[in-house]
Subunit: 199 residues, 4 copies
């Protein structure tokens, strides 16, 4: 029951984060190609960030699904995650406006890193409150492994942005794909065992 309100608040914050990014697109006053072209990097950044935040929502959804009771440690680990996620629109807009300058791409990679660490902490806090369902523990272990993989890639993306922003961009996409694909495998595995999909 109380969990619902934590979910509802997180849903609200994530829904706002994902939609206020679009407020950064100021419609150009003319319809000439020159003024449209300026928007393209911002639009590309929006797509990347939309997918990133959508993955977080999916994982968050899955993670909170596993628990029944919450305590203030979970509440604050969750607020900590939402704090870093709330900075995504700013970092996205900055990256787009400076046309993927090395510094802003590196800061974006750093921010994704901080989001990833915050998610990892939340996961650990939730596991430490005691989950007894073995299937969920297994699926959280897989989430954890993917999380560590993401953190390594994001950390690499920080210095690499100063060589070429494109390398970091590709790494962001690699992480996104890594999260998008295996979720299906988990569900299929669960289905084969005759269980309903976890989420």
């Amino acid at each position: 029951m109380t969990k619902n309100r934590l979910e509802a608040f997180s849903d609200g914050v994530i829904a706002i984060i994902i939609t206020i990014m679009v407020l950064e697109f100021k419609p150009p006053h003319s319809v000439e190609w020159a003024s449209i072209k300026v928007l393209l990097p911002t639009f590309l950044c929006y797509i990347i960030s939309y997918i990133m935040v959508a993955i977080y929502w999916g994982n968050h959804h899955h993670l909170l699904h596993t628990i029944n009771n919450i305590n203030s440690r979970i509440i604050w680990a969750n607020q900590h995650l939402l704090f870093w996620l709330s900075l995504v629109p700013f970092a996205t807009a900055w990256m787009g406006e400076t046309n993927f300058s090395s510094l802003t791409v590196a800061l974006y990679a750093l921010l994704l890193n901080l989001c990833g660490i915050a998610y990892y902490i939340l996961l650990k806090v939730i596991v430490s409150t005691g989950i007894h369902d073995q299937k969920f523990l297994l699926s959280l272990k897989k989430q954890e492994k993917k999380g560590v993989f993401s953190l390594i890639i994001y950390t690499a993306a920080i210095p690499l942005a100063f060589i070429n922003s494109l390398i970091s961009g590709v790494l962001f996409i690699v992480v996104a794909i890594r999260w998008l694909i295996p979720d299906k495998n988990i569900e299929k595995a669960e289905k084969n065992k005759g269980n309903k999909p976890a989420f």
Copy 2:
């Protein structure tokens, strides 16, 4: 149970989309007719987009009503739909600011098309997960037919915007009316059969 959170997140995103459009109205600093007149096309665009998004909310509501379990395919088909819907405020503002220039009206028609396709995909994914209630399948079939009709009209509206923006505008209204009217018929039919309205 888990469906609720997908609904809540979608409600949040759609609620924000429908209300941030109004942020585009910058109140004029004077009260002279000249400065008010500039707002009129933006206001007209707002009304059209408000109705469009409201129709999506109604249909989305109806569609998710039919299912009990969700899986990650449904989650991502839904995120995909929300992505295109999230661009509606931008396209609306651009169309209004350029006073219905052909290019922006064509892009608006394209965006409605992409929203329509995303909704169609979501509908197909949901039907493919297995719905056994014949009545709902029938009502989704009707939604599908109307969806295909909308896509044809939107596709026609893209080139026609370059002849005259007004033609496309009329087509948008035709689609809106097509969605608004028959919903009542479905409900009446259901009522006559002695069932409670579907939504």
Copy 3:
């Protein structure tokens, strides 16, 4: 069950409406009295509109409390109400920015009128779907009476704004007080009858 989603969507929209108004306050770049003074009318407008929207939320809450099933007529009457409410931040900002100029105050009164009519329509649609609880019918009758009173006052406030904006401002406050006070009486009456407060 389905009613919950209509409530959740309305809550989201009203929550956004009530909070985006504050986005209109651009913090002045200096701390001199001259730049602060400019904000005062905007702040005053914010207080009035906040109370107005809060009253709508309370009444909406009460109104939907009385029903179990919704149909598409209720959905669209509700969307219609939310449409006019969504224009409140715009009208509020305009009134504040022009320092309560007659035209903007008259438009604000007109908008409150349109919100009031939309609410009245929603109330009528909900009553017409059949409410059998006599107590709620009685309380809705009282809401209806107060609604008609508000519409008369708002209508008077439109031309009176051109004589003096202050008169209209006082009328807005009169309506607000009319809605705030008697709600308690209803609750007390219900309590005296040994019933729990309706909301």
Copy 4:
């Protein structure tokens, strides 16, 4: 049941408040240190306000957890609290933009004071509607004590801002720590008594 909607509305408003603050960060158009440096006070203000609003959400969550029925007094005490909280993004942005000028810091302290008083009123209204669970009464007593402590500190921070803004800043952090730490103690105490954590 009805309580849920008050919670949902409050969650929506608080979620928006906490995330629109980030809209104040306008990404600088360049990546030079000079243009980044300007953002730092705004960022620091954001962190402080984020924690403040997050604490309110946690306490609000806890407070409403204790009740089953709501009445219009609770609704309006809650709206009153949300009103002052809704001004936090404005005060935060102003403080950041003027680089912690004494006047804006004093106003921020005043606003936190008004939020604190509004919370205190809500707490009193809820207690007066009759809570019979002794454990919750005890935990609310502790909340009340911390609330009075906060009000005293905030009141002191108003004149002290004119001596040095930093003193007030430190006081804000002291209050935040005061709220963050002891919540855990309450939970531990409850746990030791063999009860589940209150929230």
